[in-house]
């Protein structure tokens, strides 16, 4: 069966995750071989997902870690098991 561009767009995400049924996957692949627009959509989507997932895209603010561990030290102190009394 030949599927049109709009159908292919519905399957872009599934195609990237490789969760399509064998039949649909083959239809999409066949379409992609001949359609430069859908190929460009697929490539750009894949590329954009790699960029958004890149660790450098969203960075930790300066001093985040220091502030976090200082806060933990403060608060965890109060939760330590009650010390054994030696007297």
């Amino acid at each position: 069966m030949v599927i049109d561009c709009k159908h292919v767009w519905d399957h872009i995400s599934g195609y990237l995750d490789d969760t399509l049924s064998a039949e649909v996957k083959e239809q999409v692949q066949l379409h992609l071989e001949h359609c430069e627009i859908c190929s460009a959509i697929l490539d750009s989507t894949r590329n954009i997902l790699i960029l958004t997932a890149d660790e450098r895209t969203f960075e930790l603010p300066l001093g985040f870690s220091e502030r976090l561990h200082a806060r933990l030290d403060e608060e965890i102190g109060g939760f330590e098991p009650a010390p054994l009394k030696s007297d």
Binding site: K6, I48, L51, A53, R56, S65
Partner: protein
């Protein structure tokens, strides 16, 4: 689920913390700091709130550590605590018009991608440019919350579809639909923008 189990060192650390070596909590969470912060930032879209929520999430994880069940991943557990913290923060800020978690009215509708004739790969190094980072950050921030949650868990935190569904309390099918929409929204917005960014334009890196 076999894939979901905690890595052995983590299991030992957790046992040790529960036995009273609370200082080891610092080592336990170090590998997860970025994940938790980015999750909070993506949901709250504000650095100060995100940092605060991240700290709260870690504290909550510490206080509830005894409830952690080792058949799940510690990272997934942390993420679901962070999600809840972020959601309740969003609710508290509700006085300001809040983003709806209801399905947008076009839920049945179709999200169409940006049409291009060709695509030249944007190399990962491009994210070292502030200009590119800002484009990406803004595009993610502008995805409606309901889709953004799914996108963050699955595509940024790299949870499996099943873990994402479980964390969000929605069906696997819903995860797939929301993920698809989020991805196509990003493509629609970013593909034309990124295409125009000339990789050779290296001057004015502060723009």
């Amino acid at each position: 689920m076999i894939e979901g189990s905690t890595i052995p060192e983590e299991g030992q650390l957790i046992a040790s913390i529960l036995a009273g070596n609370t200082h080891e909590f610092h080592s336990l969470i170090r590998p997860h700091e970025r994940t938790v912060y980015v999750m909070a930032l993506t949901l709250l879209k504000n650095e100060a709130d995100a940092e605060d929520v991240a700290q709260e999430a870690f504290l909550k994880a510490f206080r509830n550590l005894k409830n952690f069940r080792s058949e799940s991943k510690f990272s997934t557990w942390l993420i679901s605590i962070t999600l809840n913290e972020a959601r309740s923060r969003l609710r508290r800020k509700n006085a300001v018009p809040m983003e709806s978690l209801d399905e947008p009215s076009d839920e049945q509708g179709h999200v169409s991608p940006a049409l291009l004739r060709d695509w030249r790969e944007i190399p990962s190094e491009a994210v070292e440019r502030l200009e590119i980072r800002q484009l990406l950050q803004q595009a993610v921030a502008d995805i409606p919350l309901i889709y953004r949650e799914t996108f963050v868990l699955r595509d940024m935190e790299e949870l499996s579809v099943n873990e994402t569904a479980e964390t969000l309390g929605i069906s696997v099918a819903a995860v797939k639909v929301r993920l698809h929409r989020a991805r196509i929204m990003l493509q629609k917005r970013l593909a034309p923008q990124l295409k125009q960014v000339n990789p050779k334009r290296r001057w004015l890196p502060w723009l």
